[in-house]
Symmetry: C2
Subunit: 223 residues, 2 copies
Amino acid sequence: MKNIFELMKKCPLFDKMDDKELNVILKSPHTKIQDFSKNQTVISEGGSADAVGIILSGSVQIVRNDYFGNRSIIALIDSPQIFAEVFVFADINAMPVSVVSVTDSRIMLIKPKDILNDNPDLSSFHTKLTSNLLRIVTEKNLKLNEKIEIVSKRTTREKIMAFLMSQAKLNNSDNFTIPYDRQALADFLEVDRSAMSAEISKLRLEGIIESDRSKFRLIKKRG
Amino acid sequence: MKNIFELMKKCPLFDKMDDKELNVILKSPHTKIQDFSKNQTVISEGGSADAVGIILSGSVQIVRNDYFGNRSIIALIDSPQIFAEVFVFADINAMPVSVVSVTDSRIMLIKPKDILNDNPDLSSFHTKLTSNLLRIVTEKNLKLNEKIEIVSKRTTREKIMAFLMSQAKLNNSDNFTIPYDRQALADFLEVDRSAMSAEISKLRLEGIIESDRSKFRLIKKRG
DNA sequence: GCAAGTATGTTGTAAATCCAACAAACGGAG
DNA sequence: CTCCGTTTGTTGGATTTACAACATACTTGC
């Protein structure tokens, strides 16, 4: 097993914290570390929102499901990021979304409020936590904004292009591999898979993109 | 003119701050108060994201516009809330959205980073600001999640119903007035206005809702 | 009260999307 | 390598939505 301490130090939630503080978190009875297999549900929609998840290894999807089985993928979260923090700190009782493990993953679940209650002496801890959380939540806010920008496009084609351009920007290259298979991409873009697949084929035929499974390339127009 | 001080004290960004701190903000050369008329642009997409907006009176919409003139309303922000804080604190240079005044409004624009630089002595100020911001950004995060939940619905009818149910919850009543006219609602739900209007009529005919302009009522099914 | 402008509702047609079913390509297990 | 489950691509028909044009209702300023 990898050194949990080293993994924790990489996590933005624990930024600038010292070993003593990390130890308090790690040793707290309100902290547990759990392994999840591919496609396993980490937290169910409707479940209690009392623990923040820290991805030590692997990755998870934040999803919501319709009454008619339409899956909506809200976000993809990788190690060493965290999830569910917004619901915990906003005192939401029930999770409005589910969290599903995409790969095999190891996840630390902590109850920061309980930890703080048990350790009223750790005043610096609270300050650091607040400031780290602000940075994290701000960044998530930007990601949600980007997701809204993409799904706000009125046509499937525009959604695909908006998504691909954001990925190109993220990868600093017109050549990149996306972290979704076709069904997951459709669930992220909120469109039908087969229609999306057809539209991707059209874009390829029109010479706007190249694609092979999850690998994409944006073709620049000649000026 | 209303007492600015009183208005500031109502704003969650300044929660728990004392008069001295408020005065520093108010008197700073990095703070300005400006009046905007209905439909006037407060900040343009692409403009610099260096100032946080505080709505002293009135309300604004956060919007984005397509190349083909499709308006997308991302959020509606009322007094005494704030806007643009995410972009300022995430060090985004260019605003990815526009801010438009919905009614006549008075807005305070502050550059918190400059203020902090000018006043290195105000350490408590920084702590309070961070903790207030965390609460605000967390809450916005929840609102963005809700917006995503609504626009993720695949049909216009489902979008309308999801929106109306969230409004009913917000108002704690099945009788409520929505803050959008038809075009704005369509721009928020990311659908065509006339198609939406037709769908609302259908819902009315089917006895699922009652509506008169911006007033709606959800009809409970009899068990 | 009237006129002009704005907002909302209605309708028919064109276009886009969903859906279901299937074909083809791929990847792992044995 | 072959088999089999999974992923991706393709197609046609049903459904939904967008679009444009117009009718009606409401609002505001005079």
